[in-house]
């Protein structure tokens, strides 16, 4: 009887702790995180593609880079590379189409879960081979299925290892068909 009472008290206490600590339903804050990128080799003088992987927190989505309406804030990456390392272009994935339950005909173009952004990194041929850090910001604006949150910026940082281009293969000089003694 005594141990049953103790178990009941512990159970009720645990339940009250859990209930007291709960956020209002659907009202936790959205976030995007970036999967840390290992040091990535990039060849100087060439265009190299670096894939950055982002993850939208569960229960939320963000507008794609090409949202369905003019006023919606697109997800957009802005990078500030070191001198002589050019960012050739940033390629975003296609958004998924989704609609709200109360307005099934209104389609939005969004990212949810994981999405990859490809960055073209082109160090000039004169760049010294070394490790370099590229940083910037991912701007996004997230919603859940009933509400939207103000736009945010995620700091983005990744390292590249600039390497020399491999030497061009030697072409043998033209061989004379005649045997020379």
């Amino acid at each position: 009887m005594g141990s049953a009472l103790v178990k009941t008290i512990l159970g009720v206490s645990l339940l009250s702790v859990l209930l007291a600590a709960q956020e209002p339903p659907g009202k936790k804050s959205p976030s995007i995180t970036m999967t840390p990128l290992p040091l990535t080799p990039v060849t100087r003088g060439k265009a190299n593609t670096v894939e950055l992987q982002f993850h939208v927190s569960s229960g939320f989505h963000v507008n794609s880079n090409k949202p369905s309406a003019e006023y919606l804030i697109p997800t957009a990456l802005k990078l500030e590379p070191p001198t002589d390392i050019m960012i050739g272009g940033i390629t975003y994935p296609e958004g998924q189409e989704m609609s709200f339950a109360f307005a099934p005909n209104e389609k939005l173009s969004v990212y949810s879960g994981e999405f990859d952004v490809a960055v073209m990194v082109r160090p000039l041929a004169s760049v010294l081979p070394s490790d370099y850090e590229i940083h910037g910001q991912l701007r996004y604006q997230a919603c859940d299925n009933a509400a939207c949150y103000p736009p945010k910026q995620l700091p983005v940082r990744f390292q590249v290892k600039v390497v020399k281009a491999p030497p061009a293969p030697h072409k043998n000089p033209a061989q004379s068909p005649h045997i020379h003694n």
Binding site: I9, L10, S13, L14, S16, V17, L18, L19, A20, A21, P24, G26, K27, S29, A69, Y71, L72, I73, F100, F102, A103, E106, L108, Q141, C143, D144, A146, A147, C148, Y149, P150, P151
Partner: protein
């Protein structure tokens, strides 16, 4: 001892307010904080200017897709219940320019005042951490209901009927 510690921990977690924000009007009967904001046509407008009317105070932004879904409903409901004392007031919590907000409101056919929001007013209403947030205020400036996020048209209409039913207390 363990039970006591768990209870103390749980109650402290429940009391913690998010981001140290002011809770804003929470319960039915709380006074809706008065404020002065500029309307799209440049006039200083106070919430208390609408005392005697039933006010639906709508916090929104041009970047908020669910806000865009409920706006046409607001336009219809303002037409339907305006003669019974409903006054919808939009507060734009936007980085967009007043011209962009005005163009957006015109495009949506908005037939009620739109005010240019400020962080201090958002803070007075609990921080407005997401949009839309709607506060239903009776004819005496008291909170009747609040709604966070997009609700159905019928839920919105029910809350409007509740504030219209309120009677203004003579001053």
């Amino acid at each position: 001892m363990v039970v006591s510690l768990m209870l103390v921990f749980g109650f402290n977690m429940a009391r913690k307010t998010k981001n140290n924000s002011v809770p804003g009007p929470q319960a039915k009967g709380d006074a809706a904080p008065d404020f002065t904001l500029q309307s799209l046509d440049g006039k200083n407008t106070r919430l208390s200017d609408f005392r005697g009317q039933a006010v639906l105070l709508n916090f929104w932004a041009t970047w908020c897709a669910p806000c865009k879904i409920e706006m046409p409903w607001f336009v219809e409901l303002q037409k339907q219940y305006g003669s019974q004392g409903l006054q919808i007031v939009g507060v734009a919590m936007d980085d967009a320019s007043p011209k962009d907000i005005a163009d957006f409101a015109k495009e949506m056919g908005v037939n009620y005042p739109v005010l240019l929001g400020k962080e201090s007013v958002g803070d007075a209403y609990g921080g407005v951490q997401f949009l839309p947030e709607n506060f239903y205020i009776d004819r005496n400036g008291k909170l009747v209901a609040r709604a966070f996020g997009l609700k159905s048209r019928s839920e919105i209409e029910d809350d409007i009927k509740a504030i219209i039913a309120s009677k203004a207390v003579p001053k």
